[in-house]
Amino acid sequence: MNAHLPLLEIRNLSKSYGAVKAVNDVSIHIDRGEIAGLIGPNGSGKSTFFDCSTGLARPDTGTVILDGQDITGWSLNRIAREGRMLRSFQKTVTFKSLDAEENLVIAGQMFTFPSIAATFGLGKLSRSRIEGLRERARELIKMAGLWDVRHQPAGNLSGGQQKLIQFASMLMPEPKLILLDEPMAGINPKIIERVVDTILYANKSLGVSFLVIEHNIDVVTSICQRVVVLDQGSKLVEGLAHDIIQDQRVREAYLGG
């Protein structure tokens, strides 16, 4: 539906914490099937922008339109459940005492059960829904290369493996759009490759669009078509990834701060 409209459109979003304008009148859009990047020096307001777009924080002003629907002011869980727009966190990654499969089943539950009341059911229907989720979870675990460690509590795995679990979790509900907050931070290069592969797989084969905050410029240029640069809460420039990294203003923002 609404194939001509952008998948996500954020207009004039602002958010202040006291006197500090964390995000100042930023507008961006994400097209269907696109992988867009969001970069900027530390403290430029990227994470606040994410929080305000996904319902974790309330924007002071601005509108968030997902797939033609105004979702401004919706809670984080409603945006995930009804909007199928999911987000990752930098530090909060997995349910640590549960294994990979349970992590993924939890991620899928609210998208399979029609209501809260239905989740209290133990009947045949409920069991078959969970079995379906388990099958999908196993497929995704295999794809993420976590098959050998699938019975371990997630908290015992490496940071990179936990990020892969988080990533696989977000694919459970067949999302339209995923917002990734520094997916490559603190993981080793071998896993970076695997995360890149999974992002590209999800994009190409599952049709998921992405908005990625990332400091690793090589990753940004290799997966993102379009990049938006934030600096001190405002949009500095927007354009194709290769042009952006050549841009004088961007260099100054990063170096001159």
Binding site: R81, T92, M110
Partner: protein, 328 residues
């Protein structure tokens, strides 16, 4: 070689079913094995197991520390007591009413309290017990104030043409056992359901659960209400068993006892709550005959717990259970 191989094989036989049968037989025959005082202690343990089950859903599975359990226990006790005294209603009506009234009371209390974060939430729930006691003391026209309700009738049943009264310690034990078993099964069903998995997700990481579409606020409120319903059922049994309900039913000591049952038994494990009730309530009640050692034994028990079994006794029980089942 073949000899040494058969020996561990023989030891590996699954002893769980025989043990379960023994436990069931002991539970059923308890009034005839022990003295009347032992039966009384077991009844008290079963009564406190109910609010503890509810609290375990809240603390152990959803990760919300609440001290309000005694308030809902008291509300249940007063509901059942008032119905029985004023209207002479059958036991099951009182039981259901106690559960519903306690659950309903949890709604207006839970809505503001659950907006608070960790420590503030605990302090807020602490207030509910005090408010409950104040109401029980001062709403004299209904609760009869400090005098409380007395001579609450024995539980009686009316099933079609059949009606009977549960009188005597032994019979009350079976009633409490039946309610306790049903409640334990109910907890098991909740925990095993997809909602139970969402509860654990909230305990593990609320923001992450939220980001995966789990309406954490609704779940916390529902679990808070369910937990209060279990407390209400316990309060109903308490009122009928002691035949007296006073404002002292709302006391912090009860809330802490319920918390010790859950944490000492093993939070987030059903077997822990069952074992904890027997140990911390049944045992201390049984030791009432020796008041000089009672509190010392209780204290020693808590010390052992704090130093050697930080997760409560349930992991120990599980290990034992697996060991006798031949599972490594």
């Amino acid at each position: 070689m073949s000899l040494t191989e058969t020996v561990p094989q023989a030891r590996r036989r699954d002893l769980r079913i025989p043990l379960a049968v023994v436990l069931i037989v002991v539970a059923l025959a308890a009034p005839y094995i022990g003295s009347r005082y032992v039966t009384h202690s077991l009844i008290i343990a079963l009564i406190f197991m109910l609010p503890a089950h509810g609290l375990n859903l809240l603390v152990g599975y959803t990760g919300l520390l609440s001290l309000a359990q005694a308030a809902f226990f008291g509300i249940g006790a007063y509901t059942a007591g008032l119905l029985a005294v004023n209207y002479g209603t059958p036991f099951y009506v009182n039981l259901i009413a106690a559960a519903l009234v306690s659950g309903a009371a949890a709604l207006p209390l839970g809505i503001p309290a659950l907006r608070l974060r960790s420590t503030s939430f605990v302090m807020c729930t602490l207030g509910f017990v005090i408010i409950g006691q104040a109401i029980a003391k001062n709403w004299v026209s209904v609760t009869r104030g400090d005098m409380g309700l007395s001579s609450i009738p024995k539980p009686y049943f009316e099933l079609g043409p059949l009606s009977f009264t549960v009188s005597g310690t032994t019979n009350f034990y079976y009633l409490a056992l039946a309610v306790g078993v049903l409640a334990t099964l109910a907890v098991w069903a909740i925990v095993r359901s997809p909602a139970g998995r969402n509860m654990v997700a909230i305990r593990e990481n609320e923001t992450l659960a939220e980001s995966l579409g789990v309406p954490t606020w609704h779940y916390k409120l529902i679990v808070f209400m369910i937990s209060a319903m279990f407390a209400g059922v316990g309060g109903c049994l308490y009122a009928h068993y002691l035949t007296v309900v006073s404002p002292l039913t709302f006391q912090m000591y009860y809330s802490t006892t319920m918390l010790i049952i859950v944490l000492g038994g093993g939070a987030g494990m059903i077997s822990g709550t069952v074992f904890g009730s027997l140990l911390f309530v049944g045992l201390t009640e049984a030791l009432r005959v020796a008041p000089e050692v009672r509190m010392i034994a209780y204290g020693a028990c808590l010390l052992v717990l704090v130093f050697w079994f930080k997760q409560g006794f349930a992991p120990l029980i599980n290990r034992f259970w697996n060991a006798i089942g031949g599972v490594k």
